[in-house]
């Protein structure tokens, strides 16, 4: 291609050669690299992200940690205040060094609930690392003598999973649905948005309650034939609902972006609709998407807590932050204030939500090139 021939320009050979060399060495900075750099410079957001990643790891690796059983109760030590002592009671039977693998597997059922094979692996890893050592009741115990620290960590698994499911649905379905609808416009847009309206108009809480009571009678069959249990239904419903607002928000943005000249320019350049969507439109709505996402995730976490509170979400022996809150209510009484039962779960939830908000704020700034050099 002749454009590479420097002789064609009003430049002397040396300059042209230097210019060409420098340009070739030059790597384009992608939006993400740039955003990453800006995020690192924004201290609070960076710490928030570190906190969230750390917390996520903690909850994922819960079986590996030397925690007590979140399920086994010990009525001798109900509502025990936080202590650094080793403490006793509710030992994990699964940690018995004498036990063979079949017995361990059976004990795990009792110490926890039905766990995945990955979690079984993590627990055997824990046996190797920590032996039978486990933490004391560092955060106290609840009214059944269950270890609060362990419950909070195991409970975060549900909350994080639910919010990830909702975030993923919002991102994947919501953003692309909304962007496509806005970009194509016309009759298709109308059809797609009316579908959203219809889904929107269904009272969501009732659907959940209805579905969960409905499957109540057919649980056995459903679980055997479809592998559907209550939790999965819960995720399905969250997935079906939480992308709706996102789709609307994104569509609105795309409608205004569609007529932006750089989108026209891309079309004129010969880019396909899909290419324009991915490269020009979606990145430009990202800042709004992220802000909305940081509002969605807390909402879903609270929603999960709410449903569990009502007894419609996660079922014991499994544990979630909502269930811990339910247990916490019994600790609130005018005679003796068992503050740890309330404070620690609230702190865990509060810190997570705060970190999400700070991170969202920082990400929004980081994704805006105009903020470059201003932080």
């Amino acid at each position: 291609m002749s454009a590479a021939d420097p002789k064609r320009f009003d430049l002397d050979d040396a300059t042209a050669e230097r210019l060409l060399r420098e340009a070739q060495e030059h790597k384009g900075i992608s939006l993400w690299q740039d955003a990453g750099r800006r995020l690192r410079r924004n201290r609070p957001s960076w710490y928030a992200m570190v906190f969230l990643i750390g917390f996520g790891l903690l909850s994922f690796l819960a079986p590996l940690l030397p925690l007590r059983s979140p399920v086994r109760s010990n009525l001798d030590i109900t509502l025990h205040a936080p202590t650094l002592d080793g403490g006793d009671g509710n030992y994990l039977a699964a940690l018995d060094p004498e036990a063979d693998s079949a017995l361990v597997a059976r004990q795990i059922e009792k110490d926890y609930w039905e766990l995945s094979s990955l979690d079984h692996g993590l627990i055997s890893l824990r046996r190797m690392i920590f032996g039978s050592w486990q933490t004391g009741h560092w955060l106290g115990t609840d009214h059944l003598g269950r270890d609060l620290l362990s419950r909070i960590v195991w409970g975060s698994r549900t909350s994080i999973l639910v919010s990830l499911a909702a975030a993923l649905c919002s991102l994947v379905i919501g953003v692309f649905y909304g962007a496509f609808s806005g970009l194509v416009g016309g009759r298709i847009d109308n059809l797609m948005m009316r579908t959203v309206d219809i889904l929107y108009s269904i009272p969501f809480i009732f659907v959940v309650i209805f579905l969960i009571t409905l499957i109540g009678d057919y649980r056995q069959v459903l679980e055997e034939e479809w592998g559907l249990d209550r939790e999965k239904v819960f995720y399905l419903v969250i997935g079906a609902v939480f992308w709706l607002t996102m789709a609307r928000v994104v569509r609105g943005q795309v409608l205004s972006l569609k007529h932006a000249e750089f989108v026209q320019a891309a079309r004129v350049m010969g880019a396909s609709t899909f290419h324009i969507l991915c490269k020009h439109i979606v990145p430009n709505v990202l800042s709004i998407v992220i802000v909305y996402l940081t509002l969605t995730i807390p909402a879903v976490m609270l929603f999960e807590a709410f449903l569990s509170f009502l007894g419609l979400g996660v079922e014991p022996p499994r544990v979630s932050w909502g269930l811990i809150a339910v247990d916490g209510t019994s600790a609130i009484n005018p005679l003796r204030i068992h503050w740890w039962v309330v404070i620690f779960p609230a702190l865990a939830m509060g810190c997570t939500l705060l970190a999400l908000n700070v991170l969202g704020d920082g990400l929004r700034d980081a994704l805006d090139p105009k903020m470059r050099g201003k932080d």
Partner: protein, 335 residues
């Protein structure tokens, strides 16, 4: 064989208010390396003509008819994927407002390489190299560091240079410039126009310059086509057309250009009335309601664009054939 040959191109939009004929049967030819100025007031169909040349009329509600023959290919018969290989590659377009025609989230380098990666399948580093060359060619200093900058870090003139460089990266045969200087101040305007002329000299690119600024056309275009209500009313070499306009609309347009040496005590002349509603066009000449020397037949018969006797010129006013040609010929003889 001309580079671009447009025959009877028409674009109509079916709207709630009726059929809007944005472009109503226009024909013109362009040679390689030629600049055609497309002038007319807002809503006369200039930009729609440009979009139609790229097959970018949204349908529905738009309907396009007529033939566009470009570089041995029938553009109007191509499928959408085939059209995409033409757009940006063999026909490029630059836009009016450089402030909004660059994606604010992408660096200049990313944006420029997009077109090369799309059409020429270049690797990223190779594309970056070509982009830097392109930026150097349009006169941007330190092109290699510009590649890492975001659009908001550049001035309006610089962005328009980036747009032009981007348009030229694939070495198109035809460049559609849709009011490329309207959003720029006068000194930058002159620089950009000079740049486009230079680029044309080097690459032999044909340029269609859409504008409503007669000054811009006078300085740069080889030929001018004057559009009114979706039709070309007069076409000819720039110099002759400006010196001796044949069509009453062109005459009105030229006489309403303010002049520095005009008498300030007199009101500026203007064309009375407003352009017709494109959804309710008069049956005859579209300009008839505003024409100073309108005849009865003007209101019933639609005049065609016909050669006007002077070589290279054509005009859609039947009155001219009888009234103006002798006078025009004498004027042409002594320019």
């Amino acid at each position: 064989m001309p580079l671009l040959s447009v025959k009877n191109l028409a674009v109509r939009f079916e709207t709630h208010h009726g059929t809007v004929r944005a472009v109503d049967g226009i024909s013109f030819d362009m040679e390689e390396g030629e600049t055609l100025g497309l002038v007319g007031e807002s809503g006369s169909g200039k930009s729609v003509t440009n979009l139609a040349l790229l097959g970018l009329i949204p349908s529905p509600p738009g309907v396009m008819s007529g033939q566009v023959h470009f570089d041995g290919q029938e553009i109007s018969a191509l499928s959408e994927p085939e059209l995409r290989t033409v757009r940006g590659n063999r026909i490029a377009m630059i836009f009016q407002d450089p402030m909004t025609s660059l994606n604010p989230l992408l660096t200049v380098g990313r944006q420029m390489t997009e077109v090369l990666e799309l059409h020429k399948g270049k690797s990223h580093s190779e594309a970056m190299r070509l982009a830097a060359v392109g930026l150097g060619e349009v006169g941007l200093s330190e092109p290699e560091s510009r590649l890492a900058q975001y659009p908001h870090e550049l001035s309006g003139g610089m962005r328009q240079r980036v747009m032009i460089a981007m348009g030229l990266l694939c070495e198109p045969r035809l460049l559609l410039a849709d009011e490329p200087t309207t959003a720029l101040d006068v000194t930058i305007q002159a620089q950009i126009l000079e740049l486009m002329a230079e680029v044309q000299r080097r690459h032999g690119t044909a340029i269609i310059l859409v504008t409503h600024d007669l000054g811009v056309v006078a300085g740069t275009a080889d030929r001018v086509a004057v559009m009114y209500a979706g039709r070309i009313v007069e076409e000819g070499p720039t110099h002759q057309l400006f010196k001796n306009p044949h069509h009453p609309y062109t005459q009105g347009l030229l006489s309403s250009v303010p002049r520095l040496d005009s008498d300030t005590s007199q009101k500026m002349s203007s064309i009375p009335g407003t352009p017709p509603d494109l959804a309710e066009m008069p049956p005859g000449c579209a300009f008839a309601p505003r024409c100073p020397n309108v005849q009865v037949e003007c209101k019933s018969e639609r005049p065609e664009l016909l050669p006007s006797g002077v070589p290279g010129r054509s005009n859609a006013c039947p009155l001219f054939a009888s009234a103006g040609s002798a006078e025009a010929d004498s004027a042409e003889a002594h320019p």
